[in-house]
């Protein structure tokens, strides 16, 4: 059962990694415009020249 001392931190760590990723997507505003992101994913307009993002500071 000593393997647990490694596996439990590993599994919890992986979970925390997922949580961190979720919080990052939330903070980066990736749920602000789902419809727009859907459409943008297929457009190759900004492939070479990424557009700067305007912040809605409201």
């Amino acid at each position: 059962m000593n393997v647990l001392t490694i596996l439990i931190p590993v599994s919890t760590g992986l979970g925390l990694l997922g949580l961190g990723a979720f919080l990052w997507t939330l903070r980066a505003g990736q749920y602000e415009d789902p419809a727009g992101d859907q459409a943008r994913a297929l457009s190759d307009e900004h492939d070479d020249h990424p557009a700067p993002q305007a912040h809605e500071s409201s």
Partner: protein, 714 residues
Amino acid sequence: MSVAACPACAGAVPGPRAATPDATHLLHLPDIHCGGCISSVERALTALPDVLSARVNLTQKRVSVAAPGLPSQVLIDALARAGHRAQPLDRGRLGPRDVELRRLLTRIGVAGFAMMNVMLMSVAVWSGATGATAQVFHLVSAMIAIPAVAYAAQPFFGSALSALRAGRLNMDVPISLAIVLASGASLAQAFGLSDRAGWFDAALALTFFLLVGRYLERAGRGAARSAAAELAALEAPQALLVTGDGTRVVAADSLVPGDRIRLLPGDRLPADGTILSGATDLDRSALTGESAPAPAGIGDAVQAGEIALTGSVEVRVDRAGRDTALSRMAEIVATAEAQRTRYAGIADRAARLYAPLVHGLGAATFGGWLLVTGDAWLSLDVAISVLVITCPCALGLAVPVVSTVATGRLFRDGILVKSDTALERLSQIDTVAFDKTGTLTTGEVRLATELGDDDLALAAGLARHSRHPLARAIVAAADARDIAPAQVDGLTEHPGLGLEATHGTRRIRLGRPGWAGPDSDGPSAFLDTGDGAPRPLDTAERIAPETEATVTALRARGMDMALLSGDGPRAVARIAGALGIAAAQARLTPEGKVDWIADRRAAGHRVLMVGDGLNDTGGLAVADAAISPGSGLDAARSAADVVLLRGGLGGVTDALWTARAAMARMRQNIGLAVAYNVVSVPLAVLGYASPLVAALAMSLSSITVTLNAVRRFK
């Protein structure tokens, strides 16, 4: 800006944060719908020299533009050239973004992470881990669960505390009790104080599912609220202030009594006041429901909300902002609204019944087991299982999921549901009261008299220079018959009277009885061509395109209908006759409408009011439910539960039928949730419910009600 190594990264990683400019303009783009629109809007805007950046939000149909110092008209013109309609949004009126929603999402994330990890460990315990191994699992679970619960379940604790402080019980009290007791008992047992199974996963699953319900509720409300705020922001009223050296455009909010403002034909009055110079015809339909414009001249009092149709006038502001008759009316509405929000929704009623039952059951179970076995830990454990299983997880999801699905569906059809309990109140309606002008009718008039070709050409020649509704009707009639307006010279508009011009040697007048023709009550106007007797002109209101279908559909479902109008008996009778509405009331004051609705309600009917004007707001506020067209006045829209953004009355039936279907679905869901409890509660009271059974019952019932809610309507 550097070119990223792979094309996909380029879109995902925005440039350095410091370099991204703040948005200065916010425009509403009602027509955008696809990826092509996004790039064409952004390209059109960034092509302008002063625009630093432009970003479209397709979900909200908005574009935020960073262009310091650039007037928004330049942006709108650029978009018009690219083929997009755009309207400026007043950011002050949009209000702050809902940060609570994002916080809820974070809590859901934390609860979900903790739930999954703790469940994995619980699987080990349930499959037979004992001794030190089980102890380690419990301790690790506690390390994850206690902070996670303390953070994620805060909304429930807060709401339960404030309810208890006010001496009430709400749904959050049993929820908080179950979460706290389950965590506390499991903590004790993790430190070896008892050897019962742990409840950490149950506490976390409860938190997680209930947070999802909370989030859906809030997101649905937030979407409606932001759309309503957007409607208000669209209309930022402006005024033309007369100063020493000309005129200046100012926000209507900044007017003070004593200011002088100029009103051009077509402008809506931003404040109450007195006409100092000039004369015009006033369209008062929004305030009184009267379809015929009234002349106004020097010294006449005018009210905010009226529209000047013909001449330009200068007005001294007597009351502005919150003091105008319009705003005072809005305040009356707000008070009546507060009354309506006290309406207890189906979820509240269920909670009121449920909360004492859950507490009683939990306490009785604890007492009973203590008496029989004398083992306090065991009794507490069984009591917790009862609390966890009865906890209104499914009940908390049953109603919000359905209303989110239903309001979302209506929103896609251009029907905005503003209030929480609107669906439920709409589902009980048996009487529909309509306003006439602007609701059943388009508010425009059409020419009811058949004129000869030459006369019509002359009339259109005069009329095309005026904004008066009759003039527009004449131009429309001429267009419909493909008659080119005749050339006229020296056209002058006499506000309050009519139009005058010469054609060849003849003097031609188009105007009200007594000026262009004999003074009589019958026709709305006369056309005097200087050749023969003046021709009388009759007008009729145009019934809005979807009105007849709506009225027919309502009648087919056995709804009572009534027409409540402030207009004269003749105009009302004509529309009521055309639509077959028997109960028609004319010349009703705003109070009259309120009384009529109150009478009906006292007689046990559930009344829906549909109206758009200021004279309807009282009725909209006292009715059981209220619908207002998007073209309605601000005050009417804020008094209504539902706003039809699409135009036309078709949304009335959509809203009513969807509300009924949604209510049926909510009842079904509550029934399902109760059925789960009926099966599992006896098991729990008898002590057969292990944490595993509790977790299964909870998840299964939550998933069942969610699936049942998203199932297709009808």
